[in-house]
């Protein structure tokens, strides 16, 4: 065929005479920049600081970075970016608005608390005279090999966890703020990859740890591939990846100009399939049924501090992204995605609660409970009302602190083999150390959503939003599944308080101020949000508007 004929088949990209430099609003990006920068510094520290000092330098650096970043977030919020000044920065890549800032704040705080638990070095007995934390001495060495012993003897510690966590946090900060699909994808990877590694770094039970890492990695990569394909399809549909642009096409505000594109542009099949795949990617991170199956294994295998960190921070970030996607990109598609999400939410609530009943490992139990909670939060997401947004924000804030606290308590209960995570070991804990048991009971009650705990306030908020959003059915299912869930939380309490202590039961390690702070913060937040949630609800309300 002739060249012209061929040429007529495709269009030339419009010739670009000059590319003007992108404008980056560094101040608005400050939180992220601080964290990422600190992470990079951390790498350098690993390279140049002596082994003995590293731990302290890293902890210091990380804490400072997180605090600074949090301060930056507060500053931005105070600067009105949470409400009136909300804007889109970095060439439309990142949104700085209420939800973003609220979630970033939450992530930074939970991250901070989590870092405390990372840095805990008093729980395990000192090996060869040097304190050890819950991370392996040398990830590269084969479990049980001489090299490992040597590493332990030499007092190696994997201080890389701190920069890794910082990277992850950086990704999480971007995730809910991402304003185009590319940024979304990148952020997803940035937060995931470090987590894969962190999962593999447990000091005890390394085989399980590695297995968890592999599973998490493979499945995570699998899901992100789907997400990326979804991105591609949506791009194909809309011709752009920026949320606003897509939304416009979806609403039909922009009509296709070029007849040549008519084939793809505005082809709803592309949109729907793509959207579904993106949703899948996010639901995977959230841990919603049927994309939840990695959760129990990974939560169980990963080092407990990491589990806490994942369970809290990752969920927050992922739900943030999900909210933005559904509320900014796909509102026009509400009537398509709502029924589907209904199904997902119901399945998540019920299956999470039901399967948890028969769990025998405390970490797995909490994993399933986190699945059930994901279901509750989804109920709020589905509400598709401003109340829905704020209720979800509130729930995430409340839930993440309870979770970190709970896992922090799990790190305390130990026997010869490290943490005693099998439930039978927890029998009679209330007799042996009432305080720890009581604290854990508080967390469990919060999970169960008993009034006067943050769990109840959050649950009430999302259910209320759902009911107002016309999802009364979801509320009923939610209520039923929380009844089922109550059963296994109570089972643990019964075990701790009403059954006789076993003679060879576990001991409760006396932690350093770090873990104590983590737990203390958890309890405090749980009770404060339970008794007087008004202030935080207001916060969530003001933060409840997406910029577009």
């Amino acid at each position: 065929m002739s060249a012209s004929a061929v040429h007529s088949l495709w269009t030339m990209a419009a010739p670009i005479d000059k590319i003007d430099a992108p404008t980056i609003e560094y101040t608005q990006l400050l939180p992220t920049l601080i964290v990422i920068g600190a992470a990079v510094l951390g790498i350098l520290v690993e390279a140049f600081v002596g082994r003995k000092a590293r731990y302290y330098v890293q902890v210091f650096l990380t804490v400072v970075a997180l605090v600074a970043a949090f301060a930056a977030v507060i500053g931005l919020a105070a600067g009105g970016y949470a409400s009136t000044e909300a804007k889109i920065v970095a060439m439309g890549a990142i949104a700085v608005d209420g939800p973003a800032l609220f979630l970033q704040g939450t992530i930074l705080l939970t991250g901070l608390v989590a870092v405390f638990t990372f840095a805990e070095r008093r729980l395990d007995p000192a090996a060869h005279g040097n304190h050890v934390d819950s991370f392996t001495a040398q990830a590269a060495s084969v479990p049980g090999s001489e090299s490992e012993q040597a590493a332990v003897k030499a007092g190696f510690t994997t201080t890389e966890v701190f920069p890794l966590s910082l990277f992850a946090i950086g990704g999480m900060l971007v995730f809910p703020a991402a304003n185009d699909l590319l940024t979304l994808f990148i952020a997803l990877e940035v937060l995931s990859l470090p987590l894969y590694l962190l999962c593999a770094l447990a000091r005890r039970k390394r085989l399980m740890s590695q297995e968890a890492a592999v599973k998490y990695f493979l499945l995570g990569a699998f899901s992100s591939a789907f997400l990326l394909f979804g991105v591609a399809l949506v791009y194909g549909y809309a011709g752009t990846v920026s949320y606003a642009g897509i939304a416009d096409v979806v609403d039909g505000t922009v009509q296709t100009v070029d007849p040549a594109l008519a084939g793809t542009m505005g082809n709803d099949a592309l949109l729907l399939v793509g959207a579904a795949m993106i949703l899948m990617g996010l639901l995977f991170k959230v841990g919603a049924v049927p994309f939840h199956m990695w959760t129990p294994d990974v939560y169980q295998g990963a080092p407990t501090p990491v589990t806490g960190f994942m369970a809290a921070a990752t969920k927050v970030a992922a739900f943030g992204a999900l909210l933005r996607l559904l509320y900014v990109v796909l509102p026009g598609l509400r009537w398509d995605w709502r029924p589907v999400m209904w199904g997902v939410a119901i399945a998540t609530m019920l299956i999470g609660a039901i399967v948890a009943i028969t769990q025998t490992d405390i970490k797995r139990l909490l994993a399933y409970s986190s699945i059930a909670h994901a279901g509750f939060i989804l109920a709020g997401v589905i509400a598709a009302t401003p109340d829905g947004i704020s209720s979800v924000l509130f729930y995430l804030g409340a839930y993440s602190f309870v979770t970190i606290g709970a896992f922090a308590v799990v790190t305390l209960v130990r026997d010869a083999g490290g943490e005693a995570t099998h439930l039978s070991k927890w029998a009679g804990l209330g007799r042996r150390s009432p305080l720890v048991a009581a604290v854990f009971a508080v967390f469990l009650l919060a999970f169960a959503g008993i009034p006067l705990t943050s769990g109840f306030a959050g649950k009430f908020a999302v259910f209320k939003a759902a009911a107002e959003g016309g999802a009364g059915m979801l509320v009923v299912v939610g209520v039923i599944s929380s009844a089922i869930a109550a059963f296994f939380y109570i089972r643990v309490i019964v075990l701790m308080f009403f059954s006789e202590p076993k003679p060879e039961g576990p001991t409760v390690a006396v932690p350093s101020p770090l873990t104590i702070t983590a737990i203390g913060v958890g309890v405090a937040v749980t009770l404060v949000l339970g008794v007087a949630p008004q202030y935080f609800l207001d916060l969530a309300n003001q933060a409840g508007v997406f910029v577009r």
């Binding site: 007799r431 042996r432 150390s433 009432p434 305080l435 009650l445 008993i450 009034p451 006067l452 109840f456 306030a457 009430f460 908020a461 259910f463 209320k464 009911a467 107002e468 009364g472 509320v475 009923v476 209520v479 039923i480 929380s482 009844a483 109550a486 059963f487 109570i490 089972r491 019964v494 308080f497 009403f498 059954s499 006789e500 202590p501 007087a532 949630p533 008004q534 609800l537 207001d538 309300n541």
Partner: protein, 523 residues
């Protein structure tokens, strides 16, 4: 801004709970006295409420109202009507006796960690329950009430599961297992009820936009808040279910025998005499006031259930081998009467029901506590293990008899008045149901007297031959209760005066009038 009496009345026991819990393990006795002191202060405040309350005055008095969770439309709103005052009085009155009766129930037998302080915990939990119950009687904000309604389960749960009957047949493990089963059953039953209510509460918010009982009731009365019939009925059912579990109403009753059987006698009293009253109280205050039409729609069904509870509970009480379970089933029967009185929708019925709540509280307390003393002496709950006690411990037997007679509502003792009012009130509108219900009084006589005969009379069993009679502490617990039973039986006027206006309001809420006597109607 006057002195917040209602808040104070609830706050004192709460503070008491914290203080008591903080007492170091060694100073056990101090903790006990401390708890008793706080409960007495509460009693004084409750009396003060009774004094400050003007029966003729506004419907809700001593009201307090502060913004709490504006976002949920929730306010911290308190206020009492006559019914509330009566029940607050009952609660504040019973708790000191409960504490005294349970004086030694929580002394630690084996030593756990040095932080393990069962005694302090026991007394603190009881005070905590008292605080929550009292506040729930005062709450005029649906959400606030709901929170307390749910939250009080937790301390109750620990009381049941943590401090079961030491005097239990069989091995310790078995006892512990049964105990935690009972506790879990109690908690789950009530939690499920509560969660279903939660759905209704949320629904109410969606419909009404706020939680203030008075506002909603006013809006409904004035007609500016319309509810679709089906909506109203669903919401009503949601609320009623929770209250029916708590009350408990047949067939939602099976948690009560387990709970009362496994818990120590004082805790059992706490359950049936105090906590369960919240359920019946809430029926009067919330179901009727918020959903008048639905209440009337459901009345026939509820009356039938109540009737079943009355007869069924009594029959099962006859069939029990375990003293405490017997009392539990008797209570189920009594709660049937209370609910029947409430939904008879006559002033006699509802006044009677309210009076019944108070009287049943006192009479069950008397019977159950004496039974507890008996059990702690012999170390068994089985009726068959006793016999001829009156020979060796006449005072104990005598008080036990009075308790039993109160349970069968002998005229001259308090329960008679309320039971008869309920019967008359029901009969006036539903003669058939009223008549069937009177069979309950025969059955009541049957189980009470069988219990007394099997345990107290006949030849003295060797195991009880050395049984000591009531000690001073125990007498101090029982005597006032009995005196109160007689007083309220002869002169219930103080309570009825308190209750009548409130009942009048409730009836007007549901737009019901007492049926006129035939003769007057004819004229």
């Amino acid at each position: 801004m006057s002195f917040p009496l209602l808040t104070a009345t609830a706050a004192v026991p709460a503070i008491g709970a914290i203080v008591t819990a903080a007492v170091p393990a060694a100073r056990r006795t101090a903790a006990k006295w401390l708890a008793l002191f706080f409960s007495l202060v509460t009693l004084v405040l409750a009396v003060l409420i009774g004094v400050r309350f003007a029966p003729g005055g506004d419907r809700y008095q001593l009201t307090e109202s502060h913004s709490w969770i504006a976002d949920f439309g929730v306010r911290y709103e308190l206020g009492v009507d006559g019914i509330g005052v009566a029940l607050i009085g009952l609660t504040a009155l019973l708790i000191p006796f409960v504490l005294l009766a349970g004086w030694h129930d929580a002394d630690p037998q084996e030593t756990g960690s040095k932080r393990w302080r069962p005694t302090q915990g026991f007394f603190a939990l009881i005070l905590m329950v008292e605080a929550m119950v009292i506040l729930s009687f005062e709450a005029t904000d649906v959400f606030l009430f709901y929170i307390l309604f749910e939250a009080m389960l937790i301390p109750m749960y620990f009381l049941i599961g943590g401090f079961g009957d030491r005097a239990h047949a069989g091995s310790d493990e078995k006892a512990a297992a049964q105990r935690s089963y009972a506790a879990v059953k109690f908690l789950l039953y009530n939690l499920v009820g509560g969660l279903i209510m939660l759905a209704a509460v949320i629904g109410l918010y969606v419909v009404a936009g706020n939680f203030s009982l008075q506002e909603i009731a006013a809006a409904r009365a004035s007609g500016e808040l319309q509810m679709a019939t089906s909506t109203e009925r669903w919401l009503f059912l949601g609320f009623f279910f929770a209250f029916a579990v708590k009350a408990p109403l047949w067939p939602l009753h099976t948690w009560l025998p387990n709970a009362m059987g496994e818990a120590t006698a004082p805790v059992a009293v706490l359950i049936t005499a105090v906590v369960d009253k919240v359920g019946t109280f809430a029926m009067l205050r919330f179901c009727l006031q918020l959903f008048p039409e639905a209440s009337k729609w459901a009345t026939p069904a509820i009356l039938v259930l109540a009737l079943i509870s009355i007869v069924y509970g009594a029959l099962l009480a006859v069939g029990q081998r375990d003293i405490k379970r017997l009392v539990a089933y008797a209570s189920i029967s009594h709660f049937g009467f209370i609910i029947m009185g409430i939904f008879a929708m006559t002033s006699q019925g509802q006044s009677g029901a309210t009076l019944y709540m108070v009287n049943h509280g006192v009479s069950t307390a008397a019977l159950m506590l004496v039974a507890g003393f008996l059990i702690s002496r012999r170390g068994s709950r089985l009726i068959a293990d006793y016999g001829g006690v009156q020979k060796v411990a006449p005072v104990l037997a005598g008080t036990f008899l009075v308790g039993s007679l109160a349970t069968l509502s002998l005229p001259g003792l308090a329960p008679f008045v309320s039971e008869f009012l309920v019967l008359v009130g029901t009969f006036a509108r539903y003669p058939a149901i009223g008549i069937i219900a009177t069979f309950g009084i025969v059955l009541a006589a049957l189980y009470s007297l069988v219990l007394y005969q099997r345990t107290m009379t006949g030849p003295v069993k060797p195991e009880v031959s050395a049984m000591p009679d009531l000690k001073v502490r125990e007498l101090v617990v029982v005597a006032p209760l009995i005196a109160l039973l007689i007083f309220l039986g002869v002169y219930p006027k103080p309570v009825t005066d308190l209750v009548n206006p409130a009942v009048g309001h409730t009836l007007s809420d549901v737009h019901e009038k007492d049926p006129k006597p035939e003769v007057e109607a004819a004229k």
